[in-house]
Structures are given as structure tokens and as C-alpha cells.
């Protein structure tokens, strides 16, 4: 066979494979949106869930998902940033470092039910955090850390070492060079990590059932005192998220419109993830351009 033919065949196969992936993706998303979007209404988004009657909304669950994401990122991002910087720039190449890397990998492959049960026994019972957003956020941090740390480490490693030498040769400290020169260049990669981990937080149910709980008590969205039990910002209240809600209405709910609620909720979940994804990319691009002066 001549090279041209080989090339044509290879290209064809690759296109076919990509086509399959895209088709599956479009089918899934299309199916969910097609079934769900007609059931989304303003009322659905702004009323609270009903336990026994139909017509319930997902206001609290939607908010809980977003709030949980914010809390999880607040907890996990700084730690992951520190760990990523350490692994990429400071860690000596020895068995201790390798052990850390392996540990991180193991952590990232733990089944979420296991993390959930651990969170239940340790956070909820032992530390007496009860079923709360905080317990949920800490449990999700366990998931998030490996992913974020890895993506930060890899993004930093992919920045040319020449940039680091340049900083060093101008008498800048390693810390200044890392934070002011390397991190801005690594930003898009880090952002991808954040987006991926955010998708995981939105979609996680198993680990949250045992930590953030399955109930969404009524909260007051006008009460900004996060220490007050009725405040929507109180991290110590139980908080059913959208994903948990979908699971619940499908398994143990007695509302007559459970099917409608779960399909609409799934569509909302996908749309929110999409908005978050695009928003984060837009913001990231904006920051990146600003910091690197690229147009």
C-alpha cells in the first residue's frame, strides 16, 4: 500500500471513531434536554420541592449544588495549588515524592460510595459535623484534590523551563517566578482542571447522600448571617443537591410527577454545568490575555 492510501484509511478510521464519540454525546445530551427542557419553568426553578404532591420545584437543590461547589473549591483549590506547586517545582525526584504521587492517584480512584461512607463515619459521626454542606464539601474535597493537584502540577510542568531560568537570572526568588511568571502561563490548564472537577461536584450523588444528606430544609434567602441556622449560607445545615434529588425522586419519592421532576432536573444540571464551563473559560481567557498581553 502506498503512503497516501494508508493515510486516507487512517484518517477515515479516525473520523469514524470521532463521529461515534460525538454521536453518543449528542444523543445523550439531546435526549436529556429534549425530555427535560419542556418541563422547566420559572416556577420549577423558584419553588421548593414537594414531598407528596406534584408541582414541586428545585430551588433549594439548585442553590445547594452551587453553594456546595463554591465551598468545595474554597477548600480544595488552595490545598491543590500548594501541592501542585510543590510537586512541580520543589519536590526532589526521590521515593518520597513518588509515594506522594501514588497516594494521590489512589485517592483519585476511590469509589465515591467509599468516600461517602468514610465521610459519614468520620465527619458526620466522629467530628459531629452532622449531615451538612460542610461535611459534603470536605468529602468532595477528597475527590477534588487529586484531580486539581494533578492538573496544576501538569500545567506548571508544561511551562517552558526557559521562563523559570529567565526569572532566576533576573534575581527573582523562585516564589515570585512561580507565582507571577509561571502561574499565569499555566492558567488555561489549571482552569480545565477546575472545570472538570466542578462537573464532578455537580454530578456526584453517592458520596453526598451520606454526608450532605438527603433533605433540603426550608432556608431564608434573605438571611445573610451564615451562622444562623435558617440562613441559606449556613454551611452546617443538611443540603440535598440536585444530583441527589434526581436519585431520590427516582428511587424513593412518592410524588406523582417524579418522572417529570427528574428529567427536568437532569436538563437543568446539564445546562448549569454548561454555563459554568463556558463562564469559567470566558473568565479564564480574559484573565490569561490580560496577564500575558496576548490579543
Amino acid at each position: 500500500m502506498n503512503p497516501k492510501r494508508v493515510n486516507n484509511i487512517a484518517t477515515g478510521v479516525i473520523f469514524a471513531l470521532v463521529g461515534i464519540v460525538v454521536a453518543i454525546l449528542l444523543f445523550l445530551i439531546g435526549y436529556i434536554l429534549f425530555n427535560g427542557v419542556p418541563n422547566i419553568s420559572w416556577k420549577f426553578l423558584t419553588t421548593s420541592a414537594q414531598a407528596f404532591s406534584s408541582g414541586g420545584g428545585i430551588r433549594d437543590q439548585l442553590f445547594n449544588s452551587l453553594y456546595l461547589l463554591v465551598l468545595t473549591l474554597i477548600l480544595s483549590f488552595p490545598i491543590a495549588l500548594g501541592a501542585g506547586i510543590y510537586l512541580a517545582e520543589y519536590a526532589p525526584d526521590n521515593w518520597v515524592t513518588n509515594l506522594i504521587r501514588t497516594t494521590i492517584e489512589v485517592l483519585s480512584s476511590l469509589p465515591s460510595v467509599v468516600v461517602g461512607l468514610f465521610g459519614y463515619l468520620f465527619l458526620v459521626i466522629q467530628l459531629q459535623l452532622s449531615f451538612s454542606i460542610l461535611s459534603g464539601a470536605i468529602a468532595l474535597t477528597f475527590f477534588n484534590l487529586p484531580l486539581l493537584t494533578r492538573s496544576i502540577e501538569e500545567s506548571l510542568n508544561s511551562v517552558s523551563s526557559l521562563q523559570k531560568e529567565a526569572g532566576k537570572s533576573l534575581g527573582l526568588s523562585d516564589w515570585k517566578t512561580i507565582t507571577k511568571i509561571l502561574l499565569p502561563v499555566a492558567l488555561p490548564g489549571i482552569l480545565t482542571g477546575v472545570i472538570l472537577s466542578a462537573g464532578r461536584v455537580f454530578g456526584e450523588a453517592a458520596a453526598l447522600i451520606y454526608t450532605a444528606g438527603q433533605s433540603a430544609p426550608a432556608v431564608n434567602y434573605g438571611n445573610w448571617n451564615f451562622l444562623d441556622p435558617t440562613s441559606f449560607l449556613n454551611p452546617m445545615r443538611p443540603a440535598e443537591t440536585l444530583a441527589v434529588h434526581i436519585w431520590k425522586v427516582n428511587t424513593e419519592s412518592v410524588t406523582p410527577d417524579a418522572h417529570l421532576i427528574s428529567s427536568a432536573s437532569s436538563a437543568v444540571l446539564i445546562i448549569v454545568i454548561l454555563i459554568f464551563n463556558l463562564g469559567a473559560r470566558y473568565l479564564g481567557n480574559h484573565l490569561y490575555k490580560k496577564m500575558t498581553a496576548t490579543k
Partner: protein
């Protein structure tokens, strides 16, 4: 490869005011002995070339002079700069690198605007006044012969410049720190002949104010721009003398073989 006797070397006692002196400098990358007893005296406001085959240790030696080998290699011996041994542990390496600037083989501007490339390190060193920064940008870019080409687009990304312009930007960025010594590691090896000429002219002009040590593979370049030349071979300094003597009348067989191309 021909073998030479490394016990013999010819290190001329060059006359003049010395800026930085390497005494018995040895470098090890783990077990790999990369530099053996280098003894070299570099003169103020002169250009000195370091020549030698690939892997002979030129870069390794150059990087000792501003402590860029820290955490990469073990450097033994003394490097005397203005009466202090800057190779000692308790020396402030950041201060050393501010006074002894460096430009690398591959241009490495920061992924920032041209202006920020110039001002970033200055600001970190406490120069905040806008006027002073502007003045530094302009004078340094002029010294590096880049000002006319970029003066209207200082806020453009430095990565959008051509390779030669990027390299001159790196020179400008280094001299914006007002160092005393400028170390150049094959600054032209990635550039076309015209950019190379521009950098050579820049170097010759810069020696009025700076002491320059330049690694080069280009013998023509060494003869055109340098006053003194050191020849490295397999980690040994074989010969050090006025450039004219090295190229017209070398004292060592190895040197003469290298410059005539009859090497190995």
C-alpha cells in the same frame, strides 16, 4: 578523537583591571566531573569569549559566575567578584544575579507585554516611580538597539516579536537591571545573520558600560567582538589569551587544532 595532555595549559596573565575571577573552579553533575580547575580572570569593560566543542563545559562554567548552577550542580572553588567570594554559601544569590545578568541561548522573554518584560524585575526590586521605569525602558531598549522597532507597541506581547527581536529584548531586560557583568550563552545561535550582526554591534557598544562574557561557537564572532578568548576542551581550560593571539598564534596544540578545524 585526538588525546591531549590536560596537565598543560596556557593561561596568559592578562593586564588590566579585573572584574571577576574564577579560582580553581570545579563543577560536578553528580558523579560527572564537568569542569576541572578553571582559573580565569575577566577584565572590566572587555568582551571575553568562551569557545570550545559541544559538551566542553562552556555553559556550565558560565553559569557558575552568577550562581545559576545552584541546585543543579556542585560548584567548588572560589569566584571572586569585587573582593567577595560569591561562590560561598552565605552570599545573597539574588543580589549576585542582579549584578551579574545573563542572556540564554534560546530567547526567553516572559509571556507578558514588552513593557512588563522590561519592568517586572525592576518593580520587584522596589523601583516604583513611573518616570524612572519609563526612562529605564527607553534607555535599555535603545542600548540593545531595539527601541526604534518596538517603541510604538510596548504593550504588545513579547512573544509576538521575531526571534532576533526577542533576543535583543532579553538583552535589554538584563541591562535594565543595571548589572556590572553580562553573561551571554550563545545568544546568536538561534538567529539569522542579520540579527546576529545587530547583536554583535550591540555587544561591542555595551562593553563601554559592562563587562561581557560570551559563549560562542562562531569563531568569526569571537574574533570580531571579543578582546580575550578562553578555549575549553572536555572540561579543561586549555588556553586563555588575547583573542588575536588565540586565533593567530595559539600556544597549545589543542587550540590550534580546534581553530583550524582539525579536531578529533
Amino acid at each position: 578523537m585526538k588525546t591531549y595532555n590536560f596537565d598543560e595549559s596556557y593561561i596568559a596573565d592578562v593586564p588590566g583591571e579585573k572584574e571577576i575571577t574564577a579560582k580553581d573552579v570545579q563543577v560536578f553533575y553528580g558523579d560527572n566531573h564537568a569542569i576541572f580547575n578553571a582559573n580565569l580572570k575577566f577584565l572590566r569593560n572587555k568582551v571575553t569569549s568562551l569557545i570550545g566543542a559541544s559538551g566542553s563545559g562552556k555553559s556550565t562554567f558560565l553559569r557558575c559566575l552568577n550562581r545559576m548552577n545552584d541546585r543543579i550542580a556542585t560548584v567548588k572553588g572560589e569566584i571572586d567578584y569585587q573582593g567577595t567570594n560569591i561562590n560561598s554559601k552565605n552570599v545573597n544569590v539574588y543580589e549576585v544575579r542582579k549584578q551579574i545578568g545573563m542572556v540564554f541561548q534560546r530567547p526567553n522573554p516572559f509571556a507578558k507585554s514588552i513593557r512588563e518584560n522590561m519592568t517586572f524585575a525592576l518593580k520587584e526590586n522596589g523601583i516604583k516611580s513611573k518616570d524612572k521605569l519609563e526612562e529605564r525602558i527607553e534607555s535599555s531598549l535603545k542600548e540593545a538597539a531595539l527601541w526604534d522597532e518596538v517603541k510604538d507597541e510596548l504593550d504588545k506581547s513579547a512573544l509576538a516579536l521575531s526571534g532576533g527581536q526577542q533576543q535583543r529584548l532579553c538583552i535589554a531586560r538584563a541591562i535594565a537591571m543595571r548589572p556590572n557583568i553580562l553573561l551571554l550563552d550563545e545568544p546568536c545561535s538561534a538567529l539569522d545573520p542579520i540579527s546576529t550582526l545587530k547583536i554583535e554591534e550591540t555587544v561591542v557598544r555595551l562593553k563601554e558600560n559592562y563587562t561581557i562574557i560570551i559563549v560562542t561557537h562562531n569563531m568569526g564572532q569571537a574574533t570580531r567582538i571579543s578582546d580575550y578568548t578562553a578555549f575549553f576542551h572536555l572540561g579543561h581550560v586549555i588556553e586563555y589569551d588575547a583573542t588575536k593571539n588565540i586565533f593567530e598564534n595559539p600556544s597549545m596544540q589543542a587550540t590550534s587544532d580546534y581553530i583550524s578545524g582539525d579536531f578529533g
